[in-house]
Symmetry: C2
Subunit: 283 residues, 2 copies
């Protein structure tokens, strides 16, 4: 399945460790309706948070090859852990392929958007402990503006709570309130959601932060960058009308993926296909 | 339960024929986090679409009295049918009460926002056949700017489809695509969602309309007006920190309400209490 012969009509590939990246795909589908997409959720090896850099590089290469084989014209890594661990290696490798496929990750587009959005120079970051420990957002924010304060709040377990069956309960409210408190105390006027699960509780966060605080998500920030990347290479879809198609691959059970995916995508789900990964799944 | 003695800390009442108005409450909760709310869903007498003006005036008066008894400081009618049929009478009656409670409806705030948003003077309206037949949006839009074109598309059954158990399927996509087509052909740059159910499919609509088309919803437009109404009467909450509370009344089964409500509210649900209406429910 090498995809359409016109390279512009080939799909954009989006890769994540599970269903979280679907909030990124959601934004891409809304912002770039003419494009087609293929999404890979590496659900058999989820979560990536505790994996070593070597492991994540290997996983990322493997998934990328699967997506190249599906004719991807651009690869989006919608996973914080994979972006932090594997983006440079993956990017170098993919640009060497015959097609010269570019790879975009989360973190940098968000950092740039947050620096642009802040008025008082105080940016909050809500993310998993692993993402905060990686220091990736701090580096990315300070690469754009070294004088901005970044107030990082680790939210262990929040993504799991959001992914649970009945997420919108009092337990979640208390949990979120606890994480929001230091951001409010610090007087941040912009908050980066540094985990792809968090856009699902954006209304709750906005209510607790107040409407004057700008919330920056991976998806919205990436959509703009994807568009620029396609334009600069003459790879934007030339489709005149209607929407592109989108489909889903996962390494774990397709039905479990389907059950969660609609809530994360907030759009109708397309076909879901299970793909076997070479590297064995580790429990 | 007359509410707190400080009139500023009394709740804002939001009234709808069912769960649709929860998308309006959603916006109010996000935009006005300090305020408290009490929501009334007249689920026992849902839907209002085919009711006579007399009937709707009677229902609205009855619900309004129930909400006044709960200490409401402002009444928001988050229902197109009730707004069109009963707003003037309800407003006159409520302003005569001891507290002089003001009543705001949907339609007008949206119309004003759409006229402000459009650049090419062509505004689309997506609504139920009954709402379009009422002519309320046309009147409201042309009261602000008589030179704007309003392209109205009736979507019979769309609200029911959205309220169904598995809304995001191909049937919905086809249905929405059919309604979006005439809006695209007319070249509108702004679309009013004239039914409180429609914000739940906003991503799908935005994807089909294209991201350059502004979508105007009741909730966002109303939130601003509610704020002005409270400010002008010195009734805005003086709460310094934290969020107000919110709770729910319904005339039908509380469990059925609860099952649907979280999806429409997109925030954690508070307590739900069943209230018996005087006027008998009609099947």
């Amino acid at each position: 399945m090498p995809g359409p012969s016109d390279p512009r009509e080939r799909p954009i590939a989006v890769f994540d460790s599970g269903v979280g990246g679907l909030t990124v795909l959601h934004e891409l589908l809304v912002q770039l309706p003419r494009e087609s997409f293929v999404y890979f959720g590496d659900t058999a090896r989820f979560p990536y948070g505790e994996r070593s850099r070597d492991e994540l590089e290997r996983f990322a290469m493997e998934v990328a090859e699967e997506l190249l084989a599906r004719g991807a014209k651009l690869l989006v890594v919608a996973c914080n852990s994979a972006t932090a661990a594997a983006l440079p290696a993956l990017r170098a490798r993919m640009l060497q392929t015959t097609l010269g496929v570019d790879v975009l990750g989360v973190v940098r587009p968000e950092a740039a958007q947050a620096v642009t959005a802040t008025r008082n120079g105080r940016i909050g970051l809500l993310a998993t402990p692993a993402t905060i420990a990686s220091g990736a957002y701090g580096e990315a924010v300070h690469a754009v503006d070294p004088y901005v304060d970044l107030v990082a709040v680790a939210a262990p377990g929040l993504a799991t709570l959001i992914q649970s069956d009945r997420p919108l309960d009092e337990r979640l409210v208390d949990e979120v309130r606890r994480h929001v408190a230091p951001l409010r105390e610090a007087g941040v006027d912009t908050v980066i959601l540094g985990c792809t699960h968090y856009p699902l509780i954006r209304p709750l966060l906005q209510r607790m932060l107040g409407r004057d605080v700008a919330i920056v998500t991976s998806g919205a920030a990436l959509a703009r960058q994807v568009e620029h990347a396609l334009d600069s290479r003459g790879l934007a879809s030339a489709r005149a009308d209607g929407e592109g198609d989108y489909r889903f691959l996962c390494s774990g059970d397709a039905e479990s993926f389907r059950a969660l995916a609609t809530r994360f995508l907030q759009l109708p789900l397309g076909p879901v296909e299970r793909v076997t990964t070479r590297t064995e799944a580790v429990a």
